[in-house]
Structure formats: C-alpha cells, structure tokens
C-alpha cells in the first residue's frame, strides 16, 4: 500500500514495523466490514423479521471510534494527512528540511497532549462509571483504546521527526515529497 515504510535500517525494527502496519490494516478492514454488516443486518432484521439488533447503534459507534483511531497511525505513517502547502514553492533547500522537522515536531507535541488528555478523560469516565444507554457497557475502555492508538500515532510521529532531522543534516539524503490526499 505504502511505498515508504519509513523505519528502514535495522531489520528487527523493520519486521516489527511491518507487523504493526499489518495488524492495524487488518483491524481497519475488519472494523469497517463489521460496521457495514451490523447496520445491514439491523435494517434487514427490522424489515424482514421485525427484530432489529439490540443496541446496534452503540456497537456501531464503538466501531466508528475504533475505525478512526486505528486508521490514524497508518495515515500519519504515510503522511497522508490533509495539508495545504501554499508556501512550498518559495521555501527551498536546507530551510525546507528544517521547516519539515519543525512542523513534524509540532504535530508530535499536539498529538502527545491530545493522547494524554484523552487518557485522563477515560479515567474520569471510569470514575464516573459512564455507561451506554441500551447495552449498559462502560465507555471508559473505548476512551483508553482511542488514547492508546493515538499514543501509537504519536510514536510514529516521533520516528518521522527523528528521520527528518537526520535527513535535514545529511546533505546526501533524498527529499521526501509528501503527497496530498483529498477526501472529497
């Protein structure tokens, strides 16, 4: 899927990285499939058997949160976040690379803070014993899961930032061109 599984070098790290990628990709596919099937079965059950799936809305919303946060590390890894690089053409050479490092570091800090605060919200939900309406499932675990996956994304950003800072001070390294992706 991606042609730049960035953490090359040590093969142990490479294998681990491929494993993480593969697991996340499988998780995304599985969750997306489950979401489609669950909603379809719910509709079919309601029309054909007059028996909708109990609490399917809550299950779907849990799946949605998992889907979003499981895809986040992959998108970040491939640098497929939506960006609008207007000033790109005027910033060239070494300055460009230094800027890349700074931007990557900024993203890392933003996400690290978000990760930490989501964990705290999870703790608060756990203490407040927040549960869903129909299935009465606790909400805290899903908040923890979101925080963990967001933490993984932060780690990937740390890796990318490191790699870029090495590139920034290595005159022979190849410039990494990030691609834009439009979801429209």
């Amino acid at each position: 899927m991606s042609n730049r599984p960035s953490f090359h070098g040590a093969s142990g790290v490479g294998i681990f990285a491929r494993g993480v990628r593969g697991s996340l990709t499988a998780l995304v596919a599985l969750v997306m499939f489950a979401m489609m099937m669950l909603t379809t079965i719910d509709v079919a059950g309601r029309f054909l058997l007059n028996a909708p799936v109990k609490g399917s809305d809550e299950l779907v919303s849990f799946l949605l949160a998992t889907l979003i946060f499981a895809s986040l590390p992959l998108i970040t890894w491939d640098e497929r976040h939506i960006t609008v690089r207007l000033f790109d053409r005027w910033i060239i050479g070494r300055l460009h690379r230094v800027l890349d490092v700074l931007l990557s570091a900024t993203s890392t800090i933003v996400l690290a803070v978000v990760t930490y605060r989501m964990w705290i919200q999870g703790v608060l939900m756990s203490e407040g014993q927040h549960i869903t309406g129909a299935l009465e499932w606790p909400i805290a675990p899903i908040a923890y899961l979101m925080s963990v996956l967001s933490g993984l994304t932060t780690l990937i950003l740390v890796g990318l930032t490191w790699q870029k800072s090495v590139g920034a001070f290595n005159p022979y390294s190849v410039d990494i061109e990030s691609e834009r992706v439009g979801a429209d």
Binding site: M1, T25, V28, A29, L30, V31, M32, F33, M35, M36, M37, T39, T40, V43, D57, E58, V60, S61, F62, L64, A65, L67, I68, F69, A70, S71, L72, L74, I75, R80, H81, I82, T83, V84, R85, L86, D88, I91, L99, L103, T106, S107, V110, L111, V113, V114, R117, M118, I120, Q121, I139, I142, A143, M146, S178, R180, V181, G182, A183, D184
Partner: protein, 430 residues
Amino acid sequence: MEISLIGFAILLLLIFLGLPLGFAMILVGVCGFAVLRSLSGALAMSSQQIIDISLNFGFSVLPLFVLMGAFVNRANLSQELYDAANSWLGHRRGGLAMATVAACGGFAAISGSSLATAATMTKVAMPPMRRYGYDNGLAAGTIAAGGTLGILIPPSVPMVIYGILTETDIGELFVAGIIPGILLIVLYCTSIAVVTWIDPKAGPKAPRIPLNERWPYLAKVWGVAALFFVVMGGIYGGIFTPTEAASIGAFGAMVFVLWRRRLTWPTLIGSLVEAGRTTGTIFAVGFGALIFSNFVTIAGLPRDLVGVIRAFDLPAVGVVLMICLILIILGMIFDALAMILLTVPVFFPIVASLGLNPVWFGIIIIIVVEIGLITPPIGLNVFVVKSIVNDVPLGKIFRGIVPFFFASIVGLLLIIFYPPIALVLPSMMR
C-alpha cells in the same frame, strides 16, 4: 472578534507552511480557547470533543458512504456508463465530450467523490476523445469539470459533512442535489456545444449508432440505476435513514462487485481499508474543525460577523453572493473538505440568522466547492486528470476548464436567484 481574526491569521500561516490541517486547527483552537478561558478548560474541552465525535452514531453514515464509493470504483461500471451515453450523444458535434459529462453524472449517482469520478472517467473517456482528434484541453477540461458532479449528485461525502456540521437533514440535502446536478449537466453540455460551434475542429463528430443498437447499451447500466434507486429512493420515501441507506448501498455495491466476479480478497480488503483510511483522514480534520470552531464561537466571531452584516443592511441575497465570492477565492487554494470544515461553522450562523433555508445554502456551498476543485492554482480535479494524462500541459487543461467555470457560475446564480431548483424535490418528501 480581534482574537478570532488573529487566530485565523496564525492558522492560515501554519497550514500554508505545511502543518497538517487537523493538527493546525487543534493547536490554534486549544491555544485560543486557553487565552479566552483557561488552559485546563481548553484541554478538557478538546479531548472530550474528540471522544464525543468519535462515538457519535450519526457520523457512521460517513464511512459507509465512502465504502460504497470504494466498492463502486472497483466494480468498473464507468465503461458501461460511457458507452451508453456515447451511443446517444457521440454523433453530435462535441458529442463525445457531452457523453463524458453525462457518464460523469451517472457515475456521480452512485459515488460521493469528485476525485474518484474524475479519475475513473479519465481512463474511460480520454482515449476515445483522443482517437477522434478532440482538442486535448477541451477533453481533459470536460472530465475535470464533469467529475465535480460527483459531489453534487447524491450520494455526496461533502454533503454528509455539511449536514453533520449544521445539523441539516442529510436525506433532504441529497434529494436537493438531484435537479441542480441535472442542471449542471445541461449547462456543461451547452458550453461544449458553444465551444465546438466556435471551433468545430475541437470536437469532431463520431459515427452515428443506429437507434435500435442504442437500447442494449442503455440496458447495461441497470446496476447503476438499481443501486441509485434503492439508496436514494429509500431515503426519499423515508424508508431508510441516511445511515441505513449508506450501509445498504455499501452492501449492495459489494454484492455487485461480487456478481461481476471482481471481488477478490485484495479488492475486498482494499475497499475496506481505503474507506477506513479516508474516514480517518476526514475525522482528523473534523476534530480540528470542531475544536477550532468552539474557539471561534466563544471568541464571538459568528455573532460579530452577523452584527457587521446587519450593519451593512444588505439584502439576504447580497450576503449569500458575498459569501460565495469569498468561498470561490478560498476555493482556489483549499480543497473541498478543508473549505467546508473551515468556513461553514463561520458562515452558517449568518445564513441561519437571515432565516435562509439551510438545505438551499448547502447546495450553494457544494457548487462553490465544485468550482474550487477546478480553479487554479490548486484545483484537485484538474490534478487528478493531469496525473493520468501526463502529456497534456496543466495550463492547457485549465484553459479547457474556462467554459465550464462560467457554466458553473451560471448554474450557481440560477440556484441563488431561483431556490426552487434545489428545494422543490425535498419539499415533496414524505
């Protein structure tokens, strides 16, 4: 108001430098909120927002419609659509280009993405237009412009996002897009007719196909028609909620791919992962947009803007025209998603305060976004076409776009000054 404008300026600087849109909006939103209230409040607000949005059942409509599109792309329906349109239109002057627009419209009826529509139609429509000696600019421009129909003719991912942001009924938005979509098809075909009337060499006629041979071509597109009628008919008749329609649509599209013997494991996994990743990309920006709009709201920007506009005492239509002008300029730089997420929270309160119809405004926003997809310097649809037909210079495609740009403006003005074009169908729902 000052602080929100400073916030906007910093945000624009960060994203133009290349900070991903989502991260930039979270950063500026949290910092701005912290300045106005407190840092701990800002952090609690933002993390709770992210969790709430992710767990909101209503938003599941988005990945499901994206998934439907992902399956549809792999079902390879574009060739049949093109053949059907071509058999009826190809023998006219500029007919192959008109057929391209019509086929884009057909593809748009089952796909919610302009980029996907442009990409798939480039592969199908460009070779025959080249074979018959069409002007490359006209050919590529037609596909880029026709592709924008993907988000106006339902289903439409940007409409879903607009609906979520403004709490407007997604079903009504979808239904409202149908007649404007047909209107734009007609306007695009008209501009092709004008261009080829001025310069007949730009779009020579293809051989005429006898009438009795045309029907079989049309019959081949039954799959597209069936999918569209189940999804849109279900929404229109109030049988399905948009989320249910989306899952039926995704499931139906998967069955369709299966039936066409194109469903391999890589196809299935590829579609699912593509839909998941697109969803993640959208939500990453969505988190930022909601946090940023929280900041802008407590800073009083929408309220102050409403005050400014009241002070000018412009008629409602004048306000809408002004908003459109601003959005068309922004659209030259921003892509569809960024535009909607960034500007709708600011402009929608103004429109609401004037008592204007949110469905009508939604359609206007979508058409303006479509224009943004084909205007330089950053017109993503043009880039998509260019990436497939590499030998046509970018400047030539943008020149080929010009007639379609004016056609879109005409369509936009017609809908602004005569709202029933958008509103007559939703008013008859249920």
